[in-house]
Amino acid sequence: MKGMTIIVKKTTQLISGMVFLYGIYVIIHGHLTPGGGFAGGVIVAGSLILVTLAYGGDFLKLVKEESGTTIVESLATIMVILIATAGLLFGTHIFFNNFLPKGIVGHLVSAGVLPLYNIFVGTEVASSIFIIFLSLIIFKEESPQ
């Protein structure tokens, strides 16, 4: 897949880093401002899609088997379930227990387990949407005939 013209490439060089940083900001501050895991995850996936569309598959040397992204996505899902199960050991012994100390409302380090949930769900959503985009647009499969 070929890339785009030189104007698009220069603009992407300047902008894509800021979009990625904004996505990470929305994920981490999910318990203070509007946003959270899902909104930040799709913004991070949007910045990765921007770089891939502007530079093309040949320049980025995208090989046929993309296995690193699926490993990241599966690991993030396992971590979400592990944190939820770890709540069975503390406190009132129920699933999805919020067991870390809750702190003061409005500070960055507060709300127990919620920032950890936000980070892992955001990573998982971003890698899922990037894998779907890569396999539908770039890694098309030739017909067997």
Binding site: V26, G30, H31, L32, T33, P34, G35, G36, G37, F38, A39, V42, I43, A45, G46, I49, L53, E65, T70, E73, S74, T77, V80, I81, A84, F95, F96, N98, K102, G103, V105, G106, S110, A111, G112, V113, L114, Y117, N118, V121, E124, V125, S128, I129, I131, I132, F133, S135, L136, I137, F139, K140, E141
Partner: protein, 175 residues
């Protein structure tokens, strides 16, 4: 407030009617994208900023995927000869629409007026959420703490959808 919402949903209905009757496939896909962007304005009028952020990015990604599928093929226009199969499906659609409109007219009398909802769980969630979960964003507190099972189910559904896409296109599992 009701007037602004009614005007925007009226424009969404016109856009949807054009999207299913257009001759060119690219025009119909772009009209679907515009209906999605109008939903973002409706979400901002209904005081839901989380949903507006998610919908605007998801609609852009859907538009990218649909345009890539349409441009890769022949972009044919639709035939419009109306034979017996076409008549049967049109009559079936009209019958189903009339039945659904009757049931909607019966059940809308139990809905409250827009703006004065009396849902029972609303007071229970709002008055204790900031102290019980410790987060300032009430929607994040409800999604991850009070309703954590639904979030875990959603994460599993996303992994299953990715596996489905990879299997349909036969990218994994080749010898």
């Amino acid at each position: 407030m009701e007037i602004a919402l009614s005007i925007i949903t009226g424009l969404m209905i016109l856009g949807a009617l054009y999207a299913i009757h257009a001759k060119d496939l690219l025009s119909s896909v772009i009209a679907c994208g515009i209906v999605g962007y109008s939903l973002v304005i409706c979400f901002l009028l209904l005081k839901a900023p989380d949903l507006a952020i998610v919908q605007i990015v998801v609609d852009t990604i859907t538009l990218i995927i649909m345009v890539a599928v349409v441009l890769d093929s022949s972009r044919e226009e639709q035939f419009s000869k109306l034979d017996t199969n076409g008549y049967i499906s049109a009559v079936t659609a009209m019958v189903i629409i009339v039945v659904l409109l009757y049931f909607f007219a019966v059940s809308i009398q139990n809905l409250d007026v827009l703006g004065k909802s009396t849902l029972r769980m609303a007071e229970h969630y709002i008055e204790g959420a900031a102290q019980k979960t410790g987060s300032a964003n009430l929607v994040t507190g409800v999604v991850f703490d009070f309703r954590g099972y639904d979030t875990m189910g959603e994460a599993v559904v996303l992994v299953t959808a990715v596996l489905g896409v990879l299997t349909i296109l036969r990218l994994k599992g080749k010898k």
